[in-house]
Symmetry: D2
Subunit: 466 residues, 4 copies
Amino acid sequence: MRLLMKFGGTSVADAESVGRTVAIIGRHHVAGDEVAVVISAQRGVTDQLITIAGEVASGTSTDGIDPLIQSLRLRHVRVLDAVAPDFAEDAATVIEERLDALRNILQAVYNLRELTPRSRDYIITFGERLNAPVVAAALRQKGMNAPVLDGGEAGILTTDHHGEAIALPESEEMISGRIVPMLSRGVPVIMGFMGYTREGIVTTLGRSGSDYSAVLIGCGIDADEIWIWTDVDGIMTTDPRLVPSARVLQSVSYLEIMELSFFGAKVMHPRSIEPAMRKGTPVRVKNTFNPSFEGTRIVRHAEKDRRVVKALTYIGNVATVAICGAQMIGRPGVARAIFSALADHEINVMMISQGSSEANISLVIEESQVGCAVEALQPLVSQGVVREVTANRDVAAVAAVGAGMAGAKGTGGRIFSALGRGGINVMMISQGSSEANISFVVSQEDGPKAVQTLHEEYRLSEESDD
Amino acid sequence: MRLLMKFGGTSVADAESVGRTVAIIGRHHVAGDEVAVVISAQRGVTDQLITIAGEVASGTSTDGIDPLIQSLRLRHVRVLDAVAPDFAEDAATVIEERLDALRNILQAVYNLRELTPRSRDYIITFGERLNAPVVAAALRQKGMNAPVLDGGEAGILTTDHHGEAIALPESEEMISGRIVPMLSRGVPVIMGFMGYTREGIVTTLGRSGSDYSAVLIGCGIDADEIWIWTDVDGIMTTDPRLVPSARVLQSVSYLEIMELSFFGAKVMHPRSIEPAMRKGTPVRVKNTFNPSFEGTRIVRHAEKDRRVVKALTYIGNVATVAICGAQMIGRPGVARAIFSALADHEINVMMISQGSSEANISLVIEESQVGCAVEALQPLVSQGVVREVTANRDVAAVAAVGAGMAGAKGTGGRIFSALGRGGINVMMISQGSSEANISFVVSQEDGPKAVQTLHEEYRLSEESDD
Amino acid sequence: MRLLMKFGGTSVADAESVGRTVAIIGRHHVAGDEVAVVISAQRGVTDQLITIAGEVASGTSTDGIDPLIQSLRLRHVRVLDAVAPDFAEDAATVIEERLDALRNILQAVYNLRELTPRSRDYIITFGERLNAPVVAAALRQKGMNAPVLDGGEAGILTTDHHGEAIALPESEEMISGRIVPMLSRGVPVIMGFMGYTREGIVTTLGRSGSDYSAVLIGCGIDADEIWIWTDVDGIMTTDPRLVPSARVLQSVSYLEIMELSFFGAKVMHPRSIEPAMRKGTPVRVKNTFNPSFEGTRIVRHAEKDRRVVKALTYIGNVATVAICGAQMIGRPGVARAIFSALADHEINVMMISQGSSEANISLVIEESQVGCAVEALQPLVSQGVVREVTANRDVAAVAAVGAGMAGAKGTGGRIFSALGRGGINVMMISQGSSEANISFVVSQEDGPKAVQTLHEEYRLSEESDD
Amino acid sequence: MRLLMKFGGTSVADAESVGRTVAIIGRHHVAGDEVAVVISAQRGVTDQLITIAGEVASGTSTDGIDPLIQSLRLRHVRVLDAVAPDFAEDAATVIEERLDALRNILQAVYNLRELTPRSRDYIITFGERLNAPVVAAALRQKGMNAPVLDGGEAGILTTDHHGEAIALPESEEMISGRIVPMLSRGVPVIMGFMGYTREGIVTTLGRSGSDYSAVLIGCGIDADEIWIWTDVDGIMTTDPRLVPSARVLQSVSYLEIMELSFFGAKVMHPRSIEPAMRKGTPVRVKNTFNPSFEGTRIVRHAEKDRRVVKALTYIGNVATVAICGAQMIGRPGVARAIFSALADHEINVMMISQGSSEANISLVIEESQVGCAVEALQPLVSQGVVREVTANRDVAAVAAVGAGMAGAKGTGGRIFSALGRGGINVMMISQGSSEANISFVVSQEDGPKAVQTLHEEYRLSEESDD
């Protein structure tokens, strides 16, 4: 079996976790699997780099550089000595060179007081640059051949949107050409989170960039499965803090994982899943602390289940914003004006609902952005395009997710009847035409109860509905 | 009682209808009510003016001008002779002068081949300009003093958005100053559909402009009620072609009329209601053929009724468009990009639904615009912002409206359970935070049945739910 | 011989002048010449039209319309009765129709308070529209067949720059196809100053538009010569008010007439000459009061004369503006910034001089625009691009013109030595690489003397230098 | 006496020249003068830095960095050891630190493949950064106290136009506050060519930046004179290669030096002179190889001389471009269009001449830019704004300069008569209203002869005209 395994920050954070990680890889290697590995920075390192970059650019002093370099040296060398005593020296040399390069760029940024998007991206990839030699040395210590590549060397070509680059289609072939030949000879260790532009400039892949790297590499090498190693057992029916009997799902579809994003984001960002979805490569979420557990498989069609609702997500601390006015009716430009105003203020809209009257567009946004949103929309009121903008702060958004909802009759009835029986008032509803998700808004107070009521209604704690 | 009465095109179309109209006004005048009247053009005249304006501007020939002038002369003089024999001569002179002015401007447009927004607005107000003297003469024939004013003279000041002007706030005081003193001395006859800019340039008020004029004048004179005379008995629980037992509603709230707009637009466009809503002036929809019937009263708070759903609207020939893609998640600019692309193509969006995953925005648009919408959104797919855009054509949108839904528990459950029992699959749902409207999409085939099912469920044919 | 004759406003202003004009045309017609005629409006009429257009557009009243119509009727009918008693009735009918059309458009502009570039152009062509029938009737009275055409009908197609339209290349063939066939049958009378866009919209040709029309038509019909009839004998060596012995030049080249423009503009605007220059058609400036005099011929190569200076122009009431600063050196954008600032303020620059140091650009502009120019350039001083801007008001510009100056050695020396001997200080000099013109600036006081000195130096009052 | 002395690249290039420089400074120091010194980079070093910056940014390799660092170390240390044996060690340490910083920034630019305007400016100041410690050490060796400051530390605050920054007015006070107190205690050594923005970011001052620094510092410390040390004796009447008897001028005015810029640029760029001109500080151009020679003094009013022409400049390899067309007459926008087109193509215009006809604008540009200029102007021909654009390549521009020309009668006559007698055809002339400069264009062949003729005419080789 050909596998791509991705290990996040907590799986490569110290001697113990690197040990566990290497043991997992080793087992599969010995068993004859072909394995490529994508690794993250040690937990917290990327944040440290972001902080120091800002500090030196603002030019107050370079005092932070040396302590940081020293602490990074210590962290990585300590793990190295523990997990790869026989290969520590070579790896330490590489780490030292990279620390020099890091110090160099930080000093240059300080001298110029100028942090360009390009130099920022370069700096914040050093977490992976320092960690990859450690993991590779640990694999060598266990007898594996472990070439190290950065994201661009591995074949990830991206747009030049620094900080949020998107992979270009030709990456797949590049990755295949570069990594596949290595698989028969060892375990390539690839730095996640980064790529190159066509001109060879280093970029970073943004939020969940390491997962995104993993899926890109996994698809590029035509892996049988892509394994995302985490510290949880998989994707659950809902947040166990809300419903203690919540259960790990054996499989979910790509579509469902998209819809579960908010809740699921803690496990895997939907953006990262898209390349796998296009190619149909299964992605498995697994737990390094419980490696024998199957985890959750993300596939095109998940196992059948008579229950149309499969999982529930919950978002608290949100607010609704209602935009009303008869002048909005029949005017194509009003929605543009509303969403332009919000985008100009960087306000992210989680839910949108406009009923057929068009006299009213309701939005759900983060509670902290309510003041900003209302202000952003005020000019539309002054211009007479909109009559009024009102906000409601103490609300929560709940989504019931399940691909089986599509075409199933009475789902909405069952959901809203259950809530009605539970005495829960539903303030806003949105079901898109994918029919894999019904989202609704209730008061903050009713939120947890709404999740519990539906978890119960659909008996989601039970393995099967039969 | 002080009343503003508005008579639309069918109420002032021929000798018979003008007779009915004058009788109504006379009755109230005699009864001591203060009445101001807003009148429309004779049915069809505005369309004729729009057509001839386009013809002469394109410059092929002036052949259409004389026949049009002649036909307009005949239409108006014929009514005039029938309803106001003793005052026909004076009014005919005024009509003749206006026909001269109309011929003049049409000839000038032909000579220049240039129809500016300003000259178009001027031309298309001639329907009202010709009709007002006729109605006024008929009132004089019945012994009433009937001064005639165009919209601007009556005090309606507007923005300079020719063809779609919006009234400026100072209109209210202007109207009051000009019209109120006339009420004790007679029945002012005001041409609907038009106003002046601050510079005195004639503008038109767009769709349902006469209703809008009526509400503006009614609020300006501080009327006790504004009566919109039509040829139906009022606003109904639903379209009687779908549900023969549909019933006229005694009262609806401003909010409900907004939400009923699509269905209700045939009676009254919500845009016109807004000034009344701001001031709290009741608006009554009445039937000239059945003047003793109370009609439907539109007020701030409609009568209480235990039924939370009060009326149902139905829109066929629509389509859903689903826009999906994980890159959309957490990016404020994507909604802007979508609605800008649609606005650039003049595509009007009737329903919007975005669930909490943000990976999916669903829209309802007119079926005829689907091709255009999909094409408009294609660049977002090419740019990788959106993964795919899919459309579903054979669908219908239904809305259940009722201010009582706000805060009522289980409404959604009751609605969707009833539909589920009826074997109807719900494809998309949207309930905004006003909670006065739940909109949903079903297959075209299921549409009428959905309306019937809910009309039955809420026993809307019965006067009261008790 | 095929001739195009153009008669300006003073040649078609009253019965007497029309009589003279018709006599001239008749003589050539009888002599067997093929003649086409371009006529202007009666003197002053176009200005009256410009005034009334502005008045009605501003919307104060329509009081001016009727008196204007009446006065135009009288002016034209009076001439008509005098010069074409037998054909007056038909022509009067045409005039009446056109007066109706003029009243119509003025009334429409008043009603709309809107004067578009298109309607303005249409209105200001009525001077020619009213005058052409008069001249044609006078020709008929003398037994000539005289079809009347407006500029567009004659084949002048233009750009759509209303008020300043430029003829399109295809005009030449259009004119040829339309006018040439008429020449064997009579004397076509063509309204100057106007054309059509490709869409058939009326345009006007701007300053000296009638001369421009004449040259276009003359080139279009492949005329042997184009005769511009005026009230002076031709183009002179200098302004006779400055030098009483100034002499009419027998011939000048196209290039020289361009350079003489300021002085010569009273006779013929260079812009009008360009089509003739392209084709090589000779243009002759003649005097209606002295028709037997040869006038001045404008041709590609004027007669040889040993005197390299042929004529002198003088412009008083001008000012110099000096723009200095070392930051200007070697910066391509500074000249752009200067001329953009001036163009934004509609300041026309008559002379420019920048010596090789680039630290200084000197301009000559109209004295009345000095304040505006200095203000327009102030931002460049504030921005540090320019060190200072200084103006000198009491100056005059003189130009010595002669195609023979090109390649002649010592011309500058002779000119400036003569001026030096005359005690005249030269403040600014500009000689372009055409070498047909040396322009210089002297104090206002020295201006006339400078002209007289050079007129003397080159013995310009004498027929020949031999 | 308080003096600011500036030593250019050739005066601080090797042990010998530094020796001479230090001897000069020492002599004045001993004599009791207060002296501040501005120094350049060693000859050629700035160009080396520009080259390496481009190389590493293009990212081919870092191979050039080490050899450059090594060569810079050798150059500076060798001089240091020779001129300051007792102070070499300390200075060498400073040089070593700066070489480290230089290597650091070059490496960072290579790593990022990104050379921002800010990083470029920082890099190209290293020539001065390395050289200042050497000169200071040499001064210390001679017993002088010699604090070293970079341009910003010395008080030069600039705009943020990297590569071409302009000093801000507040610099003068800053410089005074920082440098004046040092003068009583020693000889401050200030790095030329650079400043700081208000935010403390390093900028460079562009062409002739060290001279500009010198004048800024000289004015800031209220120097009695600013001495610009070069390798020539001063400013000459003309280029001695053209006229072997050319003579050094004892004094010239600020205005004359501006006008002499092209020729004079080899000595001093006019841009650098402007701050001195504003304050009236005399600037003296002197020769390090001939320090006892007075040099040329640049002052507000130069010594009187009956000769109105004082110096002659010559520019070969230029071309004229003539832009003609009658449509240009009276249109303010045409000059804008022309100079915008040229600026967009980065074409620098050395001479402009537009005579009073406006039908013709003639320009002088570098011969190598003719093709580009003609192409840049082609769109104006296509649009019909301009009739034709013609170029003449084999020409030379000559300027006769002298402040005494202002108001002198017959200067132009004398110049152009002399040229005429010499058989030289003048193709274009430009004299701006400063009247301190008459520029003209002759054929390339006639160029040198024109200069010689006028040098002779005005007996410029003779000390005085008396």
